[in-house]
């Protein structure tokens, strides 16, 4: 026969100080794990919503990112008329030649300089990014030193505001608009006119990369293969979706360190939970004896104490989840493969909270096993005699 769970619950309530302290220790451990997972999850959300599976990024063979890629205008003419590229509203193929550079701005967060991506592109490039809408101001005009900045960039950098000027290339660039890219990585970029940016960078002929849009999913695959196999072009094509997915790797160091820290803290917390449970067993010797006299088996004592430890840690897990909830939506930045920063929000999802709860329960189970078996092994008479 099993001992009712209410017995364990009541015990946890009676020893409330100890219970709360142990649970808080577990909560902090869970919170550290969840904070890191929320960070990685947020970055992943941003990156997956940045790419469109129908669009293909074309870079020079051997280039892993746009910043190190080279793309000439002649090559672009060859690429533009490939089979399978969709047409835009003006009947022209949806293909965008782009140039990328990085500028260093000082951040409000850290006061240190942070790198930002500046992208030079043509109207077709804007048309192709469906997720990007103008939030305020206007788009840049061709042939002028004007920029439109992403919302995250504008939120995070005092220099990036409508009307302010940024100096790079051969002069001052005025910010004329702010664009909203939803969760997309484009929100951390600054856009300008392709010809003006490339002229200022003295890169009129050799630009960075191209983006093309396929008519449908099947054509997208074929188009990518076609570009990859074109010896004359010597280019590497990946779908925009894959390109951004691969960038999740930039969170890997933080993810590793975070998980490492959480596991070490978990070892510490498991010891603490063990301590609490041993004390509980020691203090309730007589109770255990009484329960045995009443006819509860060794097994049910074991299960009961084990369950109590799991309940204790589940409470900790719950508190941990509550602790990280305020992090949800906070913006932070991380380096990307273009040697600049991608801003994203912490994202505490139900999946992550589930992982946190599971982590807490495992931790409590590890901490509760020995004390529970210790309780079960007590001899009835000695247990009853203990004070």
């Amino acid at each position: 026969m099993a001992i009712p769970v209410a017995y364990n619950l009541r015990n946890l309530v009676v020893r409330k100080t100890t219970t709360i302290m142990t649970a808080l220790g577990i909560a902090l451990t869970v919170a550290v794990l969840l904070a890191v997972l929320a960070l990685v999850n947020g970055l992943r959300t941003t990156l997956t919503s940045s790419g469109d599976p129908l669009q293909i990024i074309v870079m020079r063979k051997g280039s892993e990112s746009e910043i190190v890629s080279n793309f000439t205008r002649t090559q672009f003419q060859d690429l533009k008329f490939k089979q399978g590229i969709a047409s835009g509203t003006n009947g022209q193929p949806l293909a965008s030649l782009e140039v990328i550079t990085v500028i260093n701005l000082s951040s409000t967060d850290t006061g240190e300089g942070t790198n930002m991506t500046v992208r030079g592109l043509q109207p077709s490039g804007i048309e192709m990014r469906h997720g990007v809408k103008l939030a305020s101001g206007r788009w840049f005009q061709e042939g002028r030193r004007e920029l439109v900045a992403g919302k995250s960039a504008a939120d995070r950098y005092p220099e990036v505001q409508i009307g302010r000027k940024i100096r790079f290339g051969r002069g001052d660039w005025e910010i004329v608009g702010i664009m909203d890219a939803g969760r997309g990585a484009q929100a951390s970029e600054i856009w300008g006119d392709l010809n003006q940016v490339s002229a200022d960078l003295q890169r009129q002929e050799v630009l960075s990369s191209a983006l093309v849009r396929a008519t449908d999913a099947v054509t997208a695959k074929a188009l990518a293969n076609d570009i990859n196999n074109d010896q004359r072009l010597n280019m590497n094509a990946v779908s925009e979706e894959e390109y951004y997915a691969a960038q999740t790797a930039s969170a890997a160091p933080i993810e590793y360190i975070g998980i490492f820290v959480a596991v070490i803290m978990a070892v510490g917390s498991a010891f603490a939970a063990m301590n609490t449970m041993y004390a509980a067993v020691a203090r309730r010797s007589r109770e255990i004896g009484t329960l045995r006299v009443l006819g509860f088996s060794k097994g049910s004592i074991l299960v009961s104490f084990f369950l109590e430890s799991v309940l204790l840690s589940a409470l900790g897990g719950l508190l941990g989840c509550l602790l990280v909830l305020p992090l949800n939506g906070i913006t932070t930045g991380i380096g990307n493969s273009n040697f600049s920063e991608t801003a994203f929000n912490f994202h505490v999802s139900p999946e992550i909270m589930f992982i946190g709860m599971a982590f807490a329960v495992i931790l409590g189970a590890a901490g509760g096993l020995f004390p529970a078996s210790n309780a079960a092994r007590k001899e009835i008479l000695t247990a009853l005699r203990e004070i």
Binding site: N70, T110, R170, A272
Partner: protein, 383 residues
């Protein structure tokens, strides 16, 4: 006070399992704290090494990815206090597989070992490298990782500088830092580039004669090119390297947040243990008081017990952390980190101080409670 030390230690020993578990719990957490404090110290608080303090780095003000005319070096060299200027260029590219990431620089081959005094290379290898335009030198860690020896060929495929480049390894150098680095001659790179891309510099590394003049020389360089097309930003090598760390994300906040969480966890663990052990002993406290121990004695004994336990845990944890820190310093990321000494007195002091504070704070409430309990009530307690 120390008269009671044997009694304090005996009290620690009475519930061995609990003491052991508490010490284990504290030491594991303190180990983590030790690693975090050591990283923080190395990144933000440590002084530059003597060699590092003598170097300043100039890059394009817009960002590191923009170049500057190579000719800037002539005017930099004329600034009083400048001993040598080296032009270097981040090469990028791939070695066999894109996953094989390590730093590759094209630099003035005759100046590398003058500027980086701490890189040790046998004289004959250095001469062989300087004479061979297609030669390269690699760090010991890189040589070990890919099993490379002097005389081997290394082929790189360029991306920023498209093309196939082949090098002969002429020397292997030792560095106090992680050394997954390759240097080769900038002349080779320049020759392979089309006319319009020649004559550019990624960064200038300047060797100065006195660390005290670093600020003056840095502003002199930036002032010199204030009205040029390519403006410069000159900073100490330490700051320059920190720029790379900040690219990882907000590392400072990350470290502080983890330290705070760990510290609070230890505090809870320790407070819990002390509360449990005091609760068991109320009657005993009554007996002690009857024997003539004052409230102050009781208070001191309980505080002492908590502090000894957390000190022992802290010391064990710190020892463990020195082992882990050694591992961090030798990881590939170690190249961007300042050298982390396995034993850093200020880090050790911080850990010990944390342990004492935690022991004190965690036991203050139960100790005060025990000290204030009247004798009769304490003796009557059945708990």
């Amino acid at each position: 006070m120390f008269r009671f030390l044997p009694l304090v230690l005996k009290n620690c020993w009475r519930n061995r399992r609990r003491t052991f578990l508490t010490i284990a719990s504290i030491s594991v957490s303190m180990c983590l704290l030790g690693v975090m404090i050591a990283m923080y110290h190395a990144l933000y608080l440590s002084d530059a090494t003597p060699e590092e303090a003598l170097r300043i780095v100039t890059r394009n003000k817009i960002s590191l990815t923009q170049q500057m005319p190579e000719s800037y070096k002539n005017r930099i060299k004329q600034i009083p206090g400048v001993r040598e200027v080296m032009v270097s260029q981040w090469f990028g590219g791939t070695y066999k597989d894109p996953k094989n990431f390590f730093a590759r620089f094209a630099a003035d081959s005759d100046k590398i070992f003058t500027i980086y005094q701490e890189l040790k290379i046998p004289a004959d290898q250095r001469i062989a490298f300087e004479r061979d335009r297609t030669g390269c030198v690699i760090g010991r860690d890189l040589a070990n990782k890919y099993n490379l020896k002097i005389g081997d060929r290394m082929a790189l495929v360029g991306d920023i500088f498209p093309g196939n480049y082949e090098f002969t390894i002429r020397g292997i150098f030792d560095s106090p830092r992680a050394s997954e680095i390759m240097y080769f001659s900038r002349d080779y790179l320049e020759q392979s580039l089309p006319e319009r891309r020649r004559g550019n510099a990624g960064v200038f590394t300047t060797l100065i004669d006195d660390p005290a003049s670093a600020g003056r020389i840095a502003s002199a360089i930036d002032e010199e090119y204030r009205n040029a097309t390519a403006q410069t930003k000159t900073e100490s090598e330490q700051q320059y390297l920190l720029g790379f760390v900040s690219l990882l994300g907000n590392v400072k906040v990350f470290l502080i947040a983890i330290c705070a969480a760990v510290m609070f966890t230890i505090l809870l663990v320790s407070a819990n243990t002390m509360a449990m052990s005091v609760r068991e002993r109320v009657r005993e406290v009554g007996v002690l008081k009857t024997l003539g121990f004052t409230d102050g004695n009781v208070l001191g004994m309980i505080l002492g017990e908590a502090i000894s336990i957390s000190l022992l845990g802290g010391a064990l944890g710190f020892l463990l952390s020195t082992v882990l820190v050694g591992g961090v310093a030798h990881s590939p990321a170690g190249g961007f980190l300042p050298p982390i000494a396995p034993f850093e007195p200020s880090v050790a002091a911080a850990c010990v101080a944390t342990a004492v504070v935690i022991g004190f704070v965690s036991s203050l409430v139960p100790a005060l409670g025990a000290a204030r309990t009247p004798i009769v009530e304490a003796l009557r307690s059945t708990d």
